[in-house]
């Protein structure tokens, strides 16, 4: 049970981070930064802008923790929310049209603490469809999904191929199929 173990470890890390442990912060950032940047890219930001907003978000969270203003730390949701506010602010200052940021809606929805930032970004129904799509993958695809997306350490396709007794090309092919199925699930119409 990799995920619960990782979650428990995450809880310990979070508690340490809230007590000002810089090593814990470094580990949490390393674990969650990719999802923060992906969330920003998904909202239409260019890579450089996404990277800067993510870095600024982490810096602000650290600052808030040092000033004793951080009571809880739900990641990556809090960092995503912070990063999106930073991106919105930057767009306003630059007087640029918020291309895909949907400023007002994003601010209102993401401020809703009852939903995770990812859920808000992806939409609960769409995320549920993604869950179902993953749940319906064949056994061999599930094995690749777990190895590539779930397990810590982010093994290369070559490492996954060796472990599962597949060719690297086959692993790549299966990952493409997984992405296509989840994409298709996300694209389905609501209702």
């Amino acid at each position: 049970m990799k995920a619960p173990a990782r979650q428990a470890n995450g809880d310990v890390l979070t508690a340490r981070a809230l007590r000002g442990d810089s090593d814990a912060w470094a580990e949490l950032i390393q674990r969650n930064d990719r999802r923060v940047r992906l969330a920003l890219l998904a909202r239409g930001l260019a890579p450089e802008e996404a990277r800067e907003c993510a870095q600024e978000a982490w810096a602000r969270l650290l600052d808030r923790e040092r000033r004793g203003e951080l009571r809880e730390l739900r990641l990556p949701g809090l960092a995503i929310t912070q990063a999106i506010f930073i991106a919105l602010d930057a767009r306003r200052r630059a007087a640029r049209a918020p291309v895909l940021l949907h400023a007002a809606a994003a601010e209102l929805e993401i401020a809703d603490s009852s939903a995770s930032a990812e859920e808000t970004l992806l939409g609960k129904r769409r995320l549920e469809r993604a869950r179902q799509a993953v749940g319906m993958l064949s056994a061999s695809m599930q094995a690749v999904f777990r190895a590539v997306f779930v397990e810590a350490g982010r093994p290369s396709y070559a490492q996954v191929a060796t472990r599962l007794g597949l060719s690297e090309q086959r692993v790549k092919q299966i990952v493409c199929e997984i992405r296509a199925q989840v994409r298709s699930a996300l694209d389905q119409e609501d209702g």
């Binding site: 049970m1 995920a3 619960p4 990782r6 979650q7 990719r34 999802r35 992906l38 969330a39 890219l41 998904a42 909202r43 239409g44 260019a46 890579p47 450089e48 895909l100 990812e118 859920e119 970004l121 992806l122 769409r126 995320l127 993604a130 869950r131 993953v134 999904f145 777990r146 997306f149 779930v150 290369s156 396709y157 990952v175 493409c176 997984i178 992405r179 989840v182 994409r183 996300l186």
Partner: protein, 142 residues
């Protein structure tokens, strides 16, 4: 690149952070000027985020099975304890403790709700409606 646009494979590798530094930089330079590819990256990033979000969730199915097993075992133990009380004879026997006394002294402890539920409330709500709980109840002596 195909017709001056990024291949899907490059986009996937970029989002998976699997590109070498040179290829990553070239991809980002291209994305700085090509809105069509940036829109494709945005779409692919959403898919990747969905995959990582689902991957980060604990597997609910297995949790439910484990919980059912623990609850079933706990109920079976409780039922066995009840059977032991029945086999000890009538409660009026002054040499034997009554079931109430057993419960009060804790010599045979009934399962507490807090012992049976170890998942958080959110997980409990995710229990499939078809979850079955098998409880072994000893039949009363004639």
């Amino acid at each position: 690149m195909d017709d001056d646009h990024l291949d899907d494979e490059i986009i996937d590798a970029y989002l998976a952070e699997a590109l070498e530094d040179g290829a990553r930089r070239a991809t980002e330079v291209h994305l700085g000027t090509c809105t069509a590819c940036l829109a494709r990256v945005s779409r692919a990033a959403e898919t990747e985020l969905a995959l990582l979000t689902v991957a980060a969730e604990p597997p609910p199915r297995r949790t439910a099975i484990v919980r059912r097993t623990v609850v079933g075992v706990a109920f079976a133990m409780a039922a066995a304890a009840g059977l032991a009380i029945v086999l000890r004879g009538p409660a009026s026997d002054p040499a034997q403790p009554t079931p109430a006394a057993i419960e009060a002294t804790g010599s045979i402890e009934p399962p507490q709700a807090s012992d049976l539920v170890f998942a958080d409330a959110e997980e409990q709500l995710q229990l499939p409606s078809s979850a079955e709980l098998v409880v072994f109840v000893p039949e009363a002596e004639p």
